[in-house]
Amino acid sequence: MDRIISVTNLTKTYKNTPALKGISFNVKRGEIFGILGPNGAGKTTTLEIIEGLRVQTSGQCAVLGYDNISESAEIKKKIGVQLQSSKYFNHLSLAELLELFASLYGKKINPVEILKSFDLEGKAAATVKELSGGQKQRFTIATALAHNPEILFLDEPTTGLDPKARHDMWQLIKGLNRSGMTIIMTTHYMEEAEFLCHRLAILDNGQILKLDSPQSLIAEISKIYKISFFTEDKISPDFFAEFQPKKIVLEYPKAIVETENFAALPKILNKLQKEKIRYSFLNVKSATLEEVYLQLTGKEYEG
């Protein structure tokens, strides 16, 4: 079976507030599927419906062919879930918790082996309280995988982590996927979606705006290149006029120039050097998902 998760016209209304307004997508075996959107878009609600924590108002949802309402128990046996904020019993060690979670699926495991693959074997006898943020997140994923599920559900796996812990988590997720794990995840970080996901659904206000690979989504919109730098010198907008830029933002000491003309980039740098403009923190970026979001919604992205 290639489509291991299929969602068709899912809606969810709380009292009179629609949280999901009819979304449809499939997740293919072996891919990392992302749902990207700002807070309140409906990402967690979507995941919770598929996981069996909530029931949809209308629409169908199937995981590995099982219906999410009538066969929820079957689905739960085959999936591993990392919730947005995970708490565990305080008085049990990591090893005891892993054994407990595996037992809920009828599996007996060697907890220290599993902790080793998450770089946590030194903490086997520790409680969750004694872990750092990054360690806690790794442990949360470990409990989700202790019973060897077919699909992994991640709800904002790097929220609250410092940059290093975030990058470590990205490597861990990529590594899991490389060894065959199908992953469905939500995130409100553009970079994370770009880096990790094979395909991405952009969710806003309960609706999917676009669904494609991050690269295709970016390629679809017009290519805009952005040069930004810091300078103490005074520059007027006319400085850049000859390059016919799309947009110039001069907010001392920061300057941003946007152009569709890739060839203009080295010319702008040349001129800066020729005119002896002292600049620092030079940054050249191509279009990002943020621009995709802006194009689709007309709104600035506020994750």
Binding site: L53, K76, I79, L83, K87, S103, L104, K108
Partner: protein, 250 residues
């Protein structure tokens, strides 16, 4: 398999949380000793035996009630509030297994409490158990089941500690005062007696009192109490299941 691990995990949590255990055992003991010493000066009508012997089953019943309500209500609310319940909800474990392990382990705790307090009562006041063991085992089991179910019910109805605290305290106080613990229900005013005589704690204390103080008392001595406790159990557990189904996240 999962029930075995859940049961073991809950036992570990209970005894590793030694502070809580300390209060669960020391407090009822302290109350018993203090009140037994004080109470020997008061006359509650003709109870026929010394007050320490009269009080012990009452205190045991009270302890069973308090352990049942407090350990389960607060624990379940905490698990709900901090998301532990949600984490279990995405696993194949059923609510029956979860609840069964929570209630089962606390029943073990209750039996230990009853044994310990009875042992200390014998050591300090020479209070003996005159009746058979089986009715006591059954009564403690039923009493535990009722009040643990009550704790479960409170955890469903109350959404937070702030809501649970007055409910638990209120139930606890009311039942302790009216429930045949420190003095016979007969000395209460008539109107209140009508209610007090039907409370679950009253039946539990009465049943235990028969078994502790009546020579050779078997099941028949507390037969009515056991039947009444069974009825109470189905009522309270029934309400708990009803409200649980009503409030389930949809």
């Amino acid at each position: 398999m999962s029930f075995y691990y859940l049961f073991g995990a809950n036992l570990k949590i209970l005894y590793r949380n030694w502070r809580g255990m300390f209060w669960n055992i020391i407090l009822p003991l302290a109350i018993y000793v203090a009140v037994a010493l004080l109470g020997s000066h008061f006359k509650f009508g003709d109870i026929g035996i010394n007050y320490a012997a009269y009080l012990l089953p009452g205190i045991l019943a009270m302890t069973i009630m308090q352990t049942g309500i407090y350990t389960l209500a607060y624990w379940l609310i905490e698990l709900k509030e901090n998301g532990v319940m949600k984490r279990f909800a995405v696993t194949p474990v059923s609510i029956a297994e979860l609840l069964g392990s929570l209630i089962g382990t606390r029943l073990v705790l209750i039996y230990i409490q009853v044994a310990l307090v009875s042992a200390v009562a014998y050591w300090i006041f020479g209070t003996k158990i005159y009746g058979e063991a089986l009715p006591i085992i059954i009564l403690v089991f039923l009493g535990g089941a009722i009040f643990l179910s009550l704790g479960f019910l409170i955890s469903i109805i109350a959404d937070s500690y702030e809501e649970a605290a007055p409910i638990s305290a209120g139930v606890n106080l009311l039942l302790t005062f009216l429930g045949n613990v420190f003095f016979p229900v007969a000395i209460l005013p008539r109107g209140i007696q009508a209610i007090a005589s039907k409370l679950p704690l009253t039946f539990l204390a009465d049943g235990l009192r028969n078994s502790y103080t009546l020579s050779g008392a078997g099941i028949s001595a507390s037969g009515e109490d056991i039947v009444a406790l069974l009825i109470w159990f189905f009522i309270i557990f029934g309400f708990a299941v009803y409200f649980y189904k009503l409030r389930r996240e949809k």
